[in-house]
């Protein structure tokens, strides 16, 4: 599903943010990604959703080397990836409903029936009363839930969530994590980046630890990678 081979990444001429990462995420797996602020969690996710290109190494998604994709192929691949951005990236001029429906419209799949589905999903994340609200009129936690709904609406094969529960209380955070688990049970590969160690202790999913800078990948990630290598051999 997601394969990194000796991937290093840095912004411009600064020091490496990620160094020599090699790992493989199995289809249908569920990973948490832990790391201090600035450790490179968002950067790693950006590599996975094709927003950044690795400085060195090779990334394959869905069995294809991403360096070889044309712009249109990248677009089609991104339709299979749902992303919850750390800064939400909602469109302020669109209602909650239209924001969530956007991936469907962009893929040419929008219809009245799907709109109903969108409204249901918004209700499920507790925004039933704010379907027509514009994001700037909503709280941070409400905006975050719109962002989550938008990431999952098209039933992506790969879900990447960057700090998806940072703005909600623990009870709601759990509810949202269960949503990701539901999706995972239906086959979606999930990666969730977070600071919140306490929250993820309730789950038994493997954890990717990023130490940041030029340090070698954390043991969990390395072990994961080695296991993958063995598994392949």
């Amino acid at each position: 599903m997601v394969r990194f081979e000796d991937v290093s990444f840095r912004y411009g001429t600064s020091a490496n943010v990620l160094s020599s990462l090699t790992f493989h995420l199995e289809p249908g797996s569920f990973h948490f990604m832990l790391g201090a602020s600035g450790a490179g969690k968002s950067s790693l996710l950006q590599l996975m959703y094709l927003w950044q290109k690795p400085t060195e190494g090779r990334i394959s998604l869905f069995g294809r080397d991403v360096a070889e994709l044309s712009r249109d192929e990248k677009a089609l691949m991104r339709r299979r990836i749902g992303v919850v951005f750390q800064d939400f990236r909602l469109l302020d001029h669109l209602s909650a409903l239209d924001n969530v429906a956007l991936p469907l419209r962009v893929a040419g799949r929008r219809s009245a029936a799907l709109d109903e589905h969108v409204a249901e999903l918004l209700t499920w994340v507790g925004l039933g009363d704010h379907i027509e609200a514009k994001p700037p009129t909503l709280s941070g936690g409400q905006q975050q839930r719109i962002a989550i709904a938008r990431a999952v609406i098209a039933r992506p094969s790969l879900l990447l969530a960057d700090e998806p529960t940072g703005n909600v209380d623990d009870r709601l955070a759990l509810r949202l994590l269960y949503l990701f688990e539901e999706l995972n049970k239906m086959g979606t590969t999930v990666v969730i980046a977070t600071h919140n160690e306490h929250l993820i202790q309730r789950f038994s999913h493997p954890v990717i630890r990023l130490a940041g800078g030029d340090t070698i990948p954390a043991p969990e990630l390395r072990r994961e990678a080695e296991r993958q290598h063995f598994g392949e051999a």
């Binding site: 927003w51 712009r71 339709r79 990836i81 992303v83 951005f85 001029h93 239209d98 956007l102 962009v106």
Partner: protein, 296 residues
């Protein structure tokens, strides 16, 4: 489809307000330049129709020693020479009444005074397609009656046609420049839009929009603004042409052009707004696709 959802909020950009007027202004200029060219060509056509296959021979009254020869003899000699020419079909002296009518605009109704030394005029109709060489003819006439002048309308007209053709070329040049400026302004507005809405476009890309989809957003907006601009511009130009046409029609002078469009020309004018809209749309599409393709 035009009212369909806008993912990129282009209709709130300042350009949504000024671009139609900019385009309207340019369409107006172009339409007037074309109408001017059409008017000039109407004028030449009118003159051409009236003047082709004709020459005028002036026999001025005798002077000094030539007094010996009477004016009537001079006219008779000129007529004889003319009628002996193969390229001449008819040659008739313009009589006094016609002369008076011709001169009325300049001399008023007082008419021609007896002592006014007017030349006699001979209207010559030449054989179409095979007119006599006017310079040779003038030489022969000079021999028969000194001082005779041949006015070849074809030659005058030829010079005039050259002038009107350059005016028409100029009008086309204006249209070309205006169209170029309009295209450039759409390019500029589109690029500005891409920059202003960069974050929205990034997000659309991130959730799987193709460049085509983004281009569609800009292209629809350009179509709308171009159509609005074209309609305003053509409306104003049509009004101006009608009003000027009225003004020109009331002055009966031969040098004032006739500013009347034919049905075909009006139809062409009606086609300008959709054409403007399509050009604006194509320009926006091309600009977006080219700009986005450079991103990766």
């Amino acid at each position: 489809m035009l009212l369909a959802h806008r993912d990129v909020p282009l209709d709130k950009d300042p350009s949504a307000r000024f671009l139609p007027w900019l385009i309207a202004f340019m369409v107006y200029l172009a339409a007037l330049a074309l109408a001017g060219a059409i008017a000039v060509s109407n004028l030449t056509e009118r003159w051409d129709r009236g003047l082709s296959d004709q020459m005028t021979v002036q026999v001025p009254p005798p002077r000094g020693e030539e007094n010996a020869m009477l004016q009537s003899e001079r006219v008779a000699a000129a007529l004889e020479t003319l009628r002996g020419e193969r390229g001449v079909r008819t040659a008739e002296v313009v009589d006094d009444a016609e002369m008076a009518a011709l001169l009325e605009p300049w001399l008023g109704e007082a008419g021609i005074r007896e002592d006014l030394p007017l030349p006699a005029l001979i209207a010559v109709e030449v054989v179409p397609g095979n007119p006599p060489d006017s310079e040779r003819l003038e030489g022969m006439l000079q021999a028969a009656a000194p001082g005779v002048v041949v006015e070849d309308h074809q030659r005058t007209l030829g010079r005039f046609l050259a002038v009107t053709q350059s005016l028409q070329l100029l009008a086309l040049l204006v249209v070309g420049l205006v169209a170029g400026a309009a295209v450039l302004s759409v390019v500029f507005v589109t690029r500005t839009g891409l920059a202003v809405h960069r974050q929205v476009i990034e997000l659309l890309h991130l959730i799987g929009a193709r460049d085509n989809y983004i281009a569609g957003q800009f292209q629809r907006q350009a179509l709308k603004l171009g159509l609005a601009g074209g309609l305003i511009g053509v409306g104003l130009a049509g009004g101006t042409i009608l009003v000027l046409g009225q003004v020109f029609a009331t002055s009966e002078s031969v040098v004032v052009p006739e500013l009347a469009l034919s049905l075909r020309q009006w139809l062409l004018l009606v086609l300008v707004p959709p054409a403007t809209a399509l050009v604006a749309m194509a320009t926006a599409r091309w600009t977006v696709l080219r700009t986005l393709a450079r991103l990766s």
